[in-house]
């Protein structure tokens, strides 16, 4: 499958871990360029990672759906991010789950974690408009 990461992903140094059939997991290393207060990740960098994970999951779901060869465009409507734990000096992973994929709207949730997947450092809910030609 194809996951198009934008130039912005390079600032976050995001890479993609793909397991067959599963939505992709994005990995962001700890670096000065994603720091907020000293020693902690910036909330904006975590949000950026979560949004990319959500879009990657949505692209994955759209490909699985077949989409009849068309290439639907994805437009973000809004995002709500909850921050649960500070992001420390270690890699951060994020993955999205498409809760509902309709013809015009997709609801996606994404979580970001460091040590254990069930101890998220942040989570986001997003609504996307899907434009099918």
């Amino acid at each position: 499958m194809s996951i198009g990461l934008p130039p912005y992903a390079e600032i976050l140094r995001v890479s993609v871990e793909v397991e067959a059939g599963a939505p992709p997991v994005l990995v962001m290393p700890f670096a000065d360029d994603v720091l907020g207060r000293p020693g902690f990740l910036h909330g904006g960098a975590i949000s950026g990672l979560l949004e990319m994970a959500a879009i990657a999951a949505l692209q994955h779901a759209l490909e699985a759906e077949g989409a009849n060869g068309s290439d639907p465009r994805i437009k973000p409507v809004n995002v709500t991010v909850d921050f649960m734990r500070g992001g420390r000096d270690k890699p951060t992973r994020a993955a999205g789950v498409v809760t509902r994929l309709g013809t015009r709207v997709a609801n996606v949730e994404a979580t970001a974690w460091q040590d254990e997947r069930d101890k998220p450092i942040a989570a986001a809910r997003m609504n996307y408009l899907i434009v099918r030609d």
Binding site: P6, P7, Y8, L12, D32, H42, G43, G44, S47
Partner: protein, 151 residues
């Protein structure tokens, strides 16, 4: 440090992620702050259109609302973002600087409530709207905040 001067804060540079994005101070008032994010191809989220990604806008709004809180508290009190909601009203115009205005409309001992908007030239034609909350980290009572907040 007595008081909080966002311009002085900004001249030290935002460091970290803010510096990586090229974020700059723009203006401030009693309970608000504006930051500027000049257009940069490194920030692009949609290569086909050249529109910048939403991540840098969230980062700017997180920082602008943070500054608004420190201005309102008149002190640099470390805090953490509890939650932040962003409505994307329209895409940012490629090539234009995005201005992010954060406002702190309510503070309590430990929580600050914020809202803000981002635009790319015309404040009456915003591209994003945000609402969020921040929480003071560490010892609230030991920070000498009570008197100021309850006043």
């Amino acid at each position: 440090m007595a008081g909080f001067d966002p311009q002085w804060f900004a001249t030290r540079g935002f460091g970290g992620h803010g510096a990586a994005l090229g974020m700059r101070y723009h203006a401030h008032g009693d309970d608000w702050a504006e930051l500027a994010l000049p257009y940069d191809e490194r920030l692009i989220g949609d290569p086909a259109s050249g529109v910048i990604a939403s991540g840098p806008i969230i980062t700017m709004m997180d920082m602008a609302t943070s500054l608004a809180i420190w201005i309102k508290r008149n002190a640099f009190v470390p805090h953490a973002t509890l939650d932040l909601r962003v409505d994307y009203l329209r895409p940012a115009t490629p090539g234009k600087t995005v201005i992010g205005r954060g406002e702190c409309y309510r503070i309590t001992r430990s929580i600050a409530f914020v809202r803000g908007q981002a635009h790319d030239g015309d404040p009456n034609d915003p591209l994003a709207h945000v609402a969020g909350t921040f929480m003071v980290v560490g010892d609230v009572a030991g920070m000498g905040l009570n008197r100021r907040i309850e006043a």
